[in-house]
Structure formats: C-alpha cells, structure tokens
Amino acid sequence: MFVLPSVLLVALFSIFPVVWGFVLSLQKASLISPNRPFVGADNYTRIASDPVAVKAATNAVIYTFLFVPSSIILALFLAVALNQRIRLIRFYRLAVFIPVAVSTIATGVMFMWVFDANFGIANWTLGRVGLGPFGWFDSPSGAMPSLVIMTIWGWLGFDTIIYLAALQGVPHELAEAAAVDGATRWSTFRTITLPLLGPATLLLVVWSTISAVQLFDEVYFVTKGGPLGATSVPVFYIYKLAFTSSYGFSAAGYAAALAYALFVVILILTLVQFWMGNRVVHYSS
C-alpha cells in the first residue's frame, strides 16, 4: 500500500509515455491535429532512406568518438593529479568539479562569448601567438570540435570525481609491494592502478556514451544544429520533427519512431560495452 503512490507516479510519467510514444510511432501524426491515421511500420522503414537522419547519426558517431575517449583520458590524468597530498588540494578538486554544477545554458552563454569569432577571448589569445582566427561555432568544420571542447569542459569534473574515488580505493600495499620489487612508478600505474580502475572506466565509458548519443541541450542552445547541419544530432532532429514543422507538418509519428530506434541503438551499445567490459575488467583486487 505504501508504494502505491510511487507506482502510480511511475506508471503515469514513465510507462504511459513509453506506450503512447510507441502508438504515435505507428501513426502519421502532427501534435496539433487529432487526425492521426495508422501507417504501420512506415515511420521505421523511412529512417534508413532519410538523409537528415543519416547525417544526424553520423554526427552522433563523430561526436561520441571525439567526446568519450578524450574526456575519459583527461579525467584520468586530472584524477591522478588531484590524488596528491599537496596544499590547496580541496580547492583544486572543487575547481575541477564546479563546471558540472553550472547549468548547461550558462556554460553555453559563456562559450558563445569565449568562442565568438570576432570578439571572443579564444581568438584573441590564439591571435597573440599567430594562430587563427578560427570560426568556432560559426564554421561548418569547426562547430563540432568546439561543441566537443565545450561539453568536455562541462562534464570533466564528473568523470574526474569518479576516477578520484576509484583511485582512493586502490590499496597502498600493492603499490608498496611493487616498489619493493623494483617497479618504476609508470609500470606500477600501468600494471596495478590502471587495471584496478577498470570498473570505474567501464562505468564512465557506458555513461559517457549514453550521454553523448543523447546530446541535446548544448546543440539546442548554442548551435541549433548548424551551421548547415554540422552539429545536427539525433535528439535535436527528433525535437525538430516533433515540435516544429520545419521537417514536415505531420512528422511527430516519425519523431517517435526515431526515438524508439535511438533507444534500441543505445540498448545494444550498452550491452556490447558491458559484454566487452566484463572480459577485460577485474572487479576484485
């Protein structure tokens, strides 16, 4: 009886939309008109032949391959640096984590200033050492890397904290034993610390990949998918389909189908990552 309210809430806000979304994905529907004829699996078969969906998927793959490895490697580096006994360590840890607590919109506003092609501090600074000027968000080739830099800045603190916690769980005795046996610091790190960080790495890979594939806020606010579709990613395209008519007046059903396709892709990605992860990750020391 005590769980009934929670069960009802979950049913209302999770299960109902999931079912309704699936029904919608079988219809040719706009969210304005009540006239929603069923079209069977048409919305699903349309995906592969839709150049905009293919472009969005390609952008998601590029973004994921740029974002996930670089943010995890950088986080590992930072976590090791922040795992030292030095003065002001708490301050440094806080500084690294603060961007996570900053809202996406604030991050977006800040980076739009920093990366402004004409007045931004990034081009000004790089200009001093003879580089640029770069177009950043304004250039079709530069927008995606700029987006990657912005989101890494925003999420690095989270990854770092996870690694930091994992690092503090690595038993000192192992490192000391290795040192007694004559191992260098690098080989200790590579053969002892790194394997023990396996579970954390797996978590971060899975988590970052899911976030990367679902990228939306930054794109919506900063680049709006542009310039010329260079940063159009799946969730942004789904939003455009469902809530605007710039990709067709009755595209909400198709948007729902794409959302389901995205769900399946993420599910498969995650299962593959866990399967691969379980073959290389050691859970006990």
């Binding site: 304005i32 542009g226 010329l228």
Partner: protein, 451 residues
Amino acid sequence: MRRTHRAKRKLVVPAVAAIALIAVACTSGSDSGSTSASGSAGGSGAPIELTMWHGYGDVIDNQGQTNYEAKSLTDLVNEFNDANPGIHVNLVYTAVNDHALEKLTVGMQGGQQPDIAYQYGTSIPQLSTAPSIMDLTDRVQDPSFKWDDFVQGARDAATFDGHVYGIPALIDNLAIVYNKDMFASAGIDPPTADWTWDDFRAAAQTLTDPSKQQWGWAFPTDATEDTVWHYDAMLWEAGGDILNADNTQAAFNSPAGVEALTALQQMAVTDKSVYLDQQNTGKTDQLFNSGNIGMLVTGPWALSAYPDVDYGVQVMPTFGNGPHTTIAGPDMWVMFDNGDGRADAAWQFMSWLTAAQQVKADSMEAGHLPTRTSVGQAPGFQEAFDKKFPGEGLFVQNLENVTKARPVLPTYDEISRIMGEAIVTVMLGQAEPQQALDDAATKVNAVLAGG
C-alpha cells in the same frame, strides 16, 4: 514577424515572468470583481476567466527598463477588465515568439490551450487543423468589426482555404536602417530612395574595416525564417516569386532568384562586407548599437534597440528600375473555443482590443505600426507617430511596398527551412546560387507533391 531583440536576456525569466504576470493580473482583477456584474457575457457571479498568451516579455525587463510593448498590452487588458466585470482576461507571457507555436503545441497536448494566443501568421495553416481553434470567418463579417479596414497582407495571412483563423495582432516590414555617423565619417552619402543594390553594395564595402571590427551590413545566417524573409524581399524586387501561382512548384530558382542570391553572395563572400550572424540571438542589434555595423535591413520593432546610434531609415534598394518591394510579417491573435461561453467572451474582448481606438493607442504607446488602415491614414497620425518614434513614419509609408505575401501553406515551414539552407550555403561560400537554388527547388517540389 516580430522577432525580439531581447530574446537572449529573457531566457532565464519566462517561468518567473509567467507567475508574476498571473499574480499581477489576478490582483488587478479582484477590484473589478466586486462591482456588480453587468457585462454582456454574464449575469451575476464570478466573471468568465480568459487566458491570453503573448510573447512581448515582462512590463519591466530584467534590466529594469520599461518594456513598452508589454506595458501597452497590459494597460489595454486592464482597461478592458475594469470596464467589463463579467469577463476577466489573464495575460500570460509564455515564450519569445520564435517558440510560440511550440508552446502552444505542447499546451494543446494536455488540453491546456489558452483562449487567445499570439502566433506568427505563417503558422495559421497548421493551426487550422487544431480541433478547438475558432473559425472566425462569420464573426469578422459583422459590419461593426470592419474586417476590411485591416491591412490587406495581414488579412490574407489570416485566411487559409477561405476561412479566417486569426486577427492581425502586429504588422511590420523591412527597410534599411543606417548609422548616420558612420556614413559621415566614411565620407559617403546616406541611402536614398533611388538606391540600387549596387549602390548598397558599394556603400557596404566602403563602411567595412576589418581592423576596426566594422562591417557595412549584417545578415541573419541561422537558416531560419529570419534568413528567408530577408531574401524573399530581394527575390520579389528582382521580379521573382517563391512558388508558382497555384503553389504547386518552386519558382525561386528563376533568374530573379539567382540575381537576388548573387547580390548576397557578392557582399558576403567576395567583399566580406557582411557580418554573418549565425546564432542570431541579438548580437547584430548590439553591434549596430555599438557602431560596428553601418546598415541593417530590419523592421520597426528593432528601432528601440538602438538608443546609442543616430540612425536613419530608408526604403529597400532596388534592382535597377524595379520596385521597392518589401515583406510584411503579420502576426496573429489565434483563438480557441474552450467551452462554457468563453468563446463569445473572448470574441467580445478581441473585437474591442483590435478596434481602431485601441489599435491607435497601442501604436502610440508601443511603436507598433497600425494594423488598421483607417488609423494609419488618419490625418496627422504619421507625423505624430514619427515624432514620438523617429523613423517609424517611413515604416508606415513602406506598407505600400508590401505587395506580395509568402504562400499560405501547411508545408510552409518545411519550404522555408529548405530555402534557408540554400541561402546560407551560398553565403558561407560553399555553393553557387544557381546550383543551390536548383537543389532546393527539387526538394521543395517533392514536399509540394506530398513526398
């Protein structure tokens, strides 16, 4: 199509604003509620509550400045509420206008649509499919409403398939707004009514100085409707059309379309005299106001954003001997029937709000061009209007150059997106005008064929 230059600053406040406005509206309403009800809409008892969504922002913006567009509307609503105890209109600021259709779409999902909503005219064909939208065709024919008094282009935009679904809320048009001081210091003559686009291009080039972060012109290149309607005016001036006469085929890839886009290409790519505003979140207005941009092609709503500039206003340049065609973006009040006699009450309010006297009051308070011809043509109006809002008088005259309208189609947003992508591709130097327009025409034809 009133885009707000305040869009960026307001992002954080809409929710707070909405709550505040509801609170304000409710408080002010309680006074009138106590007087005996004799409004035509109801007998005694609680007044009929109406909800009205708009995109003008807060009366006092988050920089402490009075927002006269919002103030004008709020004052009028309060005046109506005081005079009509049987009806109470609640004014709610929901979102900037670029997101008005999204807000309404989401609202309708939960059956939470307002009684009256501010919408772009281009959204009318889509909204006509909403189950509870009010078909105003018969109501506007009431002689006392004087439907024919509204500007022609606005009436056309309110009508889809012979049915009227909106009442004009705002009209505007595009003209050159230029910085007098920048022209003087560059030693060139300011724009005249005889200017061609070649003159415009030459001036833009002279005004451009990269070392001083100075551009001759600015253009919104975010590939939205804002990009497209700037191009539309040029397309029409060159003698072209967006679609053919019966809206079945793309027509913008004509020689006229190429001429218009080539003019943009020459300035943006060859001369680099155009500041390309990719995000289009208000930076252009700031740069014009700070003296970094010499000329803009913009509308009457923008003038209040340039307090620091001594600006002039001039009609659009022509292509040779062609017309000064401009484009108007009529915005609409769209109404929904939410039952319980609210439709009649909403109509009573709307016919009062858009009557000549209130239209004139709103123009003089907010600087909006009058939506009714009788107001704009009244003796002395243009002089008084131009005196209070320098430059606005030309925008009133410029309404005469509004001779064409965008196609009224449910697929218009999709056509606009395709055209916007083509224009931006060319302006970023990634395609040639003819090729880009031909590709876009192929896609538009597929959309029109129902593909």
